[in-house]
């Protein structure tokens, strides 16, 4: 069956948008604070789908959340959440995915390029989320960093390592699927 590239990527983008939504619910207990897989799927969308389709997946996820579907962390949704104190992190996902996808494509999808892309992507999320949190709650900068960034850095480092490993495993699989689907 000849499946067009557009249709395949449309399905993959929707799948990643759903994975990002579900990622907020899949918690891995590693200590007192469990790790949720949401940002890991965001970064993987950038690396596996590229700039265009990765951004489309994030756009769809935010659109569904804005429409009121319970896809944001904690089973919430709606414009209130998107424009609320943690809205900066959510809106920061789109530029983060675009930049991470761009870096990944430029570095030839090598392991060090993937890690660098995810590091810069994570920084963009914080660069958007922390100032938003600061202005929405009117808290000082030090407090905004203390509650909105520092506690998550270790978890983010672990997610980047796990995501780099998963992307390395999944890339050939997607390539094969593409070939099989195209030639079948």
């Amino acid at each position: 069956m000849n499946v067009s590239e557009n249709l395949r990527m449309t399905v993959y983008s929707s799948l990643f948008a759903a994975l990002i939504a579900v990622g907020a619910y899949i918690a891995i207990p590693i200590g007192p604070v469990p790790i949720v897989l949401q940002n890991m799927f965001v970064l993987m969308a950038a690396l596996l789908l590229g700039t265009r389709w990765g951004s489309a997946a994030l756009g769809l996820y935010l659109l569904m959340g804005a429409c009121g579907f319970p896809v944001f962390a904690g089973g919430t949704g709606g414009l209130g959440r998107l424009l609320g104190p943690t809205g900066g992190y959510l809106l920061g996902y789109i530029p983060a995915v675009w930049v991470a996808g761009f870096i990944c494509a430029r570095t030839g999808k090598k392991l060090w390029g993937d890690v660098m892309a995810m590091l810069i992507g994570s920084l963009i999320v914080y660069a958007s989320g922390v100032p938003w949190l600061k202005f929405a709650t009117a808290m000082p900068w030090e407090k905004a960093f203390a509650v909105g960034m520092y506690p998550f850095l270790v978890g983010d480092a672990l997610k980047i390592v796990a995501a780099a490993y998963c992307v390395k495993l999944l890339r050939p699989m997607l390539k094969n699927n593409k070939a099989n689907v195209g030639n079948g």
């Binding site: 399905v11 799948l15 009121g68 672990l158």
Partner: protein
């Protein structure tokens, strides 16, 4: 999400369930914007209307509060920060709560906390606004079918030249289709890992890898099967469009929204410091 929650769509006969989806989206967007200007009187009015809608939509308020528990934690945090950092007339809240001056002097942290009257009022107002926007989102989600939303999304995106509105519409319905499937697969994998004692592993990266890799492999296989099924049914973006169902009450909702806007503009709420 895979299970039925207070946020899931449920069939109903109340006017919200029969209303044109475009009307619902427009009213929610306008009301969300208006919330930024709303004072206590305006918030009381709209809260009363929304509570009536919740009751008529058959939503279990107790279950709803339970499902929103994490959201309430965020709201409390926002309230506390607003109460502390907003400048104004200090409120001796600890004395009111029954802690005497001696006790307070011996708790260093409490000496630095300066709760103000303006902060308390502002915190209440901000938290109330967020809560109202959240309830509007909930009412929309529980009264709107995914297929209607798909068509409405395509209709709204039509005027934008660089956005393929029908593709976005189909992505919306695929998204809704994938959510329960991913949760089901994640639960299956989690149970399989537990059966192999994988939850006793100490390495967090391995824990993540053990769940993520099989999950992604399985869902990508499902996505490929779906893409083939769509292609075999000659899927294309030039399909017959679904009609919008109208209840006949759309005008009332638009008029109500505009009337509420006029109420916000021309009636200044008491207890406003701005």
């Amino acid at each position: 999400m895979g299970k039925s929650t207070q946020f899931s769509y449920r069939p109903g006969n109340f006017v919200l369930f029969r209303l044109d989806v475009r009307c619902k989206i427009i009213c929610i967007c306008l009301l969300s914007i208006m919330m930024a200007m709303a004072g206590f009187s305006h918030l009381s009015l709209i809260s009363t209307v929304l509570l009536w809608f919740l009751y008529r939509s058959g939503i279990n308020i107790r279950m709803l509060i339970w499902e929103l528990k994490y959201f309430f934690v965020i709201l409390f945090f926002v309230f506390a920060v607003r109460a502390i950092v907003t400048p104004g007339v200090p409120v001796p809240i600890l004395q009111i709560l029954g802690m005497d001056v001696f006790e307070i002097k011996h708790i260093d942290l409490l000496n630095h906390i300066n709760i103000t009257r303006e902060g308390l009022v502002d915190g209440c107002k901000v938290v109330w606004r967020f809560l109202i926007i959240m309830i509007m989102g909930l009412l929309f989600a529980c009264s709107t079918q995914a297929s209607s939303l798909n068509v409405a999304v395509a209709w709204f995106l039509k005027p934008f030249p660089f956005i393929p509105e029908k593709r976005v519409g189909i992505m919306v319905s695929l998204f809704v289709r994938f959510l329960p499937m991913i949760l089901e697969k994640a639960n299956e994998i989690s149970d399989a890992q537990k059966a192999r004692c994988a939850h006793l592993r100490k390495n967090p990266v391995k824990k993540m890898k053990n769940i993520t890799v099989p999950l992604l492999k399985r869902v990508f296989i499902c996505a490929d099967t779906l893409a083939i099924a769509m292609a075999s049914r000659c899927y294309n973006e030039h399909r017959t469009e679904q009609d919008f169902l109208k209840s006949g009450y759309e005008f009332h909702f638009y008029a109500g929204t505009i009337a509420f806007y006029a109420f916000i503009l021309f009636y200044k709420s008491p207890l406003s410091f701005h």
